[in-house]
């Protein structure tokens, strides 16, 4: 271990008192439960759906079911679309509110956060009310004589992506906001003085300097998308299930916990791979949690 100036060597009481409680939480509420899920994924169930500790690979064999594979692919497609849309929407937006000269800059920042203090389920339901066949948008379009019959907009992959973008976009806006705030104006001026076009400055200076924010945003959006079963429940109506829906079903109505565990292992593997890739391109783990 590298010795830094601020560290005092201690195997004794102070380290135990300060770090002990968090270690207990991590071991008992994070590590052991996850290990138990890993064990359960190799277990069988009896005819009453109880978990029996008899080794089997059947759960993993079941993962190759074509219906499941369809949902993995759909899930990845939804997550990919959501992430791309979040980057495209949030990038100029974060730039504009982070570099505004307006006096209301703090207010603009708070206005991004305030909606997310309202329960996310009810906000997603708000979209359903807005887009439904009897919803605000259809009623408005009919009143304006732009359509005669209500449009069937809900319950597809598009609306699910919309809901995911809505839920997760702050994870892109907020890190980008702080990246843009740290951006040194002198660099942009120097680039312009040296004859670079605006596009070139964007490509060579602005994007590389804000890449950290983009990458951490992508991780914090893509991964949750695979699991947010309530968004696809409310806005996808069963037509846009994600891996989270499969897991939820096995732990609730399906009552096959070993199969649900095996499905969770897929999500864990995807998460590990993405985090490894993120670290490889130089992303800092710390910035994921700030």
């Amino acid at each position: 271990m590298k010795k830094s100036k601020h560290e005092w060597k201690s195997n004794g009481l102070p380290a135990l008192v300060t770090v002990g409680p968090v270690a207990v939480i991590l071991v008992f509420l994070v590590v052991l439960p996850l290990m138990y899920v890993a064990v359960m994924s190799f277990c069988s169930i009896d005819s009453y759906y109880n978990v029996v500790y008899k080794f089997t690979l059947r759960n993993y064999a079941q993962l190759a079911d074509p219906d499941y594979i369809h949902i993995y692919l759909q899930s990845i497609l939804i997550a990919l679309l959501t992430t791309v849309i979040c980057v495209l929407v949030a990038y100029p937006f974060a730039y504009l509110i982070a570099r505004t000269k307006s006096r209301n800059k703090n207010l603009l920042y708070m206005l991004v956060i305030i909606p997310f203090w309202t329960n996310s389920l009810i906000r997603i339901y708000g979209w359903r009310t807005f887009l439904g066949t009897n919803g605000w948008l259809n009623n408005a379009l009919i009143k304006l004589h732009m359509i005669s019959e209500p449009l069937d907009m809900l319950f597809n992959r598009g609306t699910t992506v919309l809901g995911m973008v809505y839920c997760l976009i702050p994870f892109m806006v907020l890190p980008l906001y702080s990246s843009f705030e740290k951006l040194d104006v002198n660099l942009l001026e120097a680039s312009a003085d040296l004859g670079a076009t605006k596009l070139k400055t964007l490509k060579e200076i602005i994007i590389p300097l804000t890449a950290d924010g983009i990458f951490s945003g992508c991780i914090m959006i893509f991964i949750p998308c695979l699991g947010y079963f309530f968004v696809s429940d409310i806005l996808g109506g069963g037509n846009a299930d994600v891996i989270g829906n499969l897991i939820e079903r096995q732990f609730q109505s399906g009552n096959n916990w070993p199969l649900g565990s095996a499905l969770s292992i897929i999500l864990i593997i995807i998460t590990l791979l993405l985090v490894k890739a993120y670290q490889k391109i130089g992303g800092s783990m710390e910035s994921l949690a700030l």
Partner: protein, 268 residues
């Protein structure tokens, strides 16, 4: 087009775009607020039957809804206090001391941050079931502590990295012991990180759907109550409560942003 005209057009476009994004962010919120004043009484409460404020009165007799909100507040307050205390201590300890297993703990702290909530939820459910721990308020609080504690650690640690250690040494040289130094020197300097972490922990707790969904037993939190009501159509009193919560948070933001709160505290 002249250069000035072009610049004007760009700021105009920028403003237009920003407004569009804000409309997107606030659109479902406006649906909630408007539907809280809908006079309709029949499920699924979607068609507009005129303006009323009666739902705001009826809300106070919906004991189930109110108690779910009470549960959410209890869980959020308790889990925030516990995770803030534990997280702050851990951040200081991890920064200050060298000991075996330190790297391991540092690594484990990232798991709750990146792991999909559903995996976290089912793993806790499985373990609570396996250990026959009855699910309810207690398991909800445990779960909320476990997913919010890393966020406190990271926020406090971010504060520690640009902090001058010699002040602490000075305190000890002047005869204060470690505990006294912690409370009188370290703690006040870490305050921004602690409040930031606590606020994040509180926000994560009150809005948590997925993890609570798996570990709640029969104790319903406010988000779980909303989830239940979605099946039959969200009734306007649920919208009314959400509107009140929104107003409460906006008031909180205004008070903290305009420093009114600080002045009030100082007067006392």
């Amino acid at each position: 087009m002249t250069r000035a005209g072009k610049a004007k057009l760009m700021t105009g476009l920028g403003r237009f775009y920003t407004v569009l994004v804000y409309i997107f962010l606030f659109l479902p919120i406006s649906v909630i607020v408007v539907n809280s004043m809908n006079a309709t009484t029949s499920k699924p409460y979607l068609s507009w039957k005129g303006f009323t404020l009666s739902w705001y009165a009826k809300l106070w007799s919906n004991t189930e809804l109110l108690s779910s909100f009470g549960n959410t507040m209890i869980i959020a307050i308790v889990s925030t206090l516990v995770s803030t205390a534990i997280g702050t201590l851990a951040a200081v300890g991890l920064y200050r001391y060298r000991f075996r297993g330190k790297d391991l703990i540092n690594g484990l702290l990232y798991i709750p941050v990146v792991i999909p909530e559903i995996v976290f939820g089912i793993s806790l459910l499985s373990m609570f079931a396996k250990m026959s721990i009855p699910r309810g308020m207690f398991t909800l609080i445990l779960a909320h502590i476990s997913f919010s504690v890393p966020f406190v650690v990271f926020n406090v640690r971010a504060c520690l990295t640009n902090y001058d250690i010699s002040v602490e040494e000075a305190s000890m040289d002047l005869g204060a012991n470690r505990v006294k130094t912690f409370f009188n020197v370290t703690f006040p300097m870490l305050m921004p990180g602690i409040t930031g972490g606590a606020l994040l922990a509180f926000t994560l707790s009150i809005d948590d759907v997925i993890i609570s969904y798996f570990v709640n037993g029969q104790t319903k939190t406010y988000p779980l109550k909303v989830m239940e009501s979605i099946k039959s159509g969200v009734s306007p009193d649920v919208n009314a409560l959400s509107t009140l919560i929104l107003l409460g948070t906006i008031l909180f933001v205004i008070l903290t942003q305009t420093n009114v709160l600080k002045k009030l505290v100082r007067k006392k």
